[in-house]
Amino acid sequence: MITIASVYFAVIFALAMRSMQLGSYDNMEKNIVGMFNGYIQVQDTAYWKNRSINHSLRYDNSLQHILRSDRNVSGLVPRLESFALASSGELTKGVMVIGIDPGPEDLLTQLAARVNQGNYLTPTDEGVLLGEKLAAYLQLSVNDTLVLIGQGYHGVSAAGKFPVRGLVHYPNPDMSGQMVVMSLSQAQYFLAIEGRVTSIVLDVRDRAMAGETAASLDSGLPPGLTAMDWKTMLPELVQAIESDNASGKIMLGILYMVIGFGILGTVIMMTAERRREMGVMVAVGLQRWKLALITALETLTLALIGVAAGVVTAIPLLEYLHRHPVPATGEMKEMIEEYGMEAVLVFSRDPALYRDQALIVALIALTTLAYPVVSILLLKPIRALRH
């Protein structure tokens, strides 16, 4: 019974811990990569180092055709990004202006859902969306007018007045404080850069294949253009996830050790409790190997019951935590916020997670069987029979 309980809790703990780890990496990746950066971007080769609209590219039918011909590419999300000075009355602030194609952009980043006040943009909209913090700073609300001053293509000066259509909630405070979103056509008009974009984000079907897709696209692109996957674009993120995963695995390792000793403890107790009984059985004629086998099977059955019960309990638990992310605290909170996301712990419910953790705990339980087996094989009935 105690063995079942120890295995049961072991499985739940291991699952919860790993689920949290994997869930937060996945969430980080999805948020940063999926929500903004995209898994693959096509840019002018010079743009990555020098983010100027002078290194923009022509977004024409032949390029779209090349990109769409890859089977892993499910959508094209063009963007035109630049910097400008925003003002409203006495207040001014440096901002990031981003022109988007509202339809595809929403498919990739669910931007429309983050518009808290006002409306989302239409494809030829002449208005803008503002990050909530930026709007607060400039004391602007929906239907007010924003003034933007900047530099257009090849140095022409750009200036314009734009009605505020809506306010966008960005979990990342930096983005919230500097984003000005407008329709691609409006941005091209504002920056005097007809038909060009600074990058094309590719929506992919299989994000695990992003690297391969980027490489194969890259070789087929016209000279001067490049396709990069998110791992190339965001090496710090990859590194952060990897190093966190490494320390996560160490924590997990420690948990496994605690689990292992916990189970071993109950197995030792159980063996000690039954020593006398086992002594009687060997004395009256039960072969040691048979007794060892029976005990091992018995313990294994208990362990498997524990694993099964643990998994069954963990499924609704993790499902619940997956849907209702837990607010993060302390270091974890800081780390998540640094990446511009809401500081919540999202739990994974990947089936592979259950398989791996259940298997590992079962293996740990299996290893602890060595103790009763060896002690039975070495059992001396007369010793066991003395008190």
């Binding site: 009984e277 009687v280 004395a283 009256v284 004629g285 039960l286 072969q287």
Partner: protein, 230 residues
């Protein structure tokens, strides 16, 4: 012909700092059908002798022959099998497997021997009735009194149809009524089934039931008295 023959038996326990010479030269033999008590003060070597006779412990020198088989020549595995088929054991306490019922505790031994189910069930019931527990066959040991548990142990010891039963202080933890009942049952089985019983005891009343009393002191047999059955 003798069931058990012990020659030149010596036992020294070496595990302790000072070696203990627990048995100092014993020659003994038992015939089929005996009802023998081994008595003597505490530490005189009764348990040690019974353990060696039962193949649970090895002598330092000398030998134990049971039905022409010398125990010392058997491998550990053969020895376990030999105990199963030839020797019944009743220990002082905690004889039974707690998770099994009285019936299962008795039947278990025959299962190990690979006896057919029919035979096992018949003999189990027969034995439990013989020890007066025909009504309690499905009770777990924890639901039985100490005396009843010892009676189940006696039934179990006989289940394998051994050549003899060794019982080390089987009544030590029992009150006088239970002691009496147990002894009567053992005596009855001794007479009815011709089963050889060898038991150790401190209890004079138990000793008086025996038809042969072997007295030990300091690892030696100091007297060996046979009485004819009344």
């Amino acid at each position: 012909m003798n069931v058990i023959e012990i020659q030149g038996l010596e036992k020294v326990y070496n595990e302790t700092v000072v070696p203990v010479h627990a048995i100092r030269g014993i020659d003994l033999s038992f015939e089929a059908g005996e009802f023998a008590a081994i008595v003597g003060p505490s530490g005189s070597g009764k348990t040690t002798l019974l353990n060696i006779m039962g193949g649970l412990d090895q002598p330092s020198s000398g030998r134990v022959m049971i039905d022409q088989t010398e125990l010392g020549r058997l491998s550990p595995r053969q020895l376990i099998r030999f105990r199963l088929d030839h020797i019944g054991f009743v220990f002082q306490s905690y004889n039974l497997i707690p998770v099994l019922t009285a019936r299962e505790n008795v039947e278990f031994i025959m299962q190990l021997q690979g006896r057919p189910k029919q035979e096992r069930e018949c003999r189990t019931l027969e034995l439990l009735e013989a020890v007066g527990l025909g009504e309690r066959t499905d009770s777990r040991p924890s639901r039985l009194s100490g005396g009843q548990q010892q009676r189940v142990a006696v039934a179990r010891a006989l289940a394998s149809r051994p050549r003899f039963v060794l019982a080390d202080e089987p009544t030590a933890n029992l009150d006088s009524v239970s002691t009496h009942t147990l002894l009567d049952i053992m005596e009855k089985l001794n007479l009815e089934e011709q089963m050889t019983f060898i038991f150790s005891t401190h209890d004079v009343r138990v000793m008086n039931k025996a038809r042969r009393v072997i007295t030990m002191e300091d690892g030696k047999v100091i007297s060996d008295v046979k009485r004819s059955a009344d």
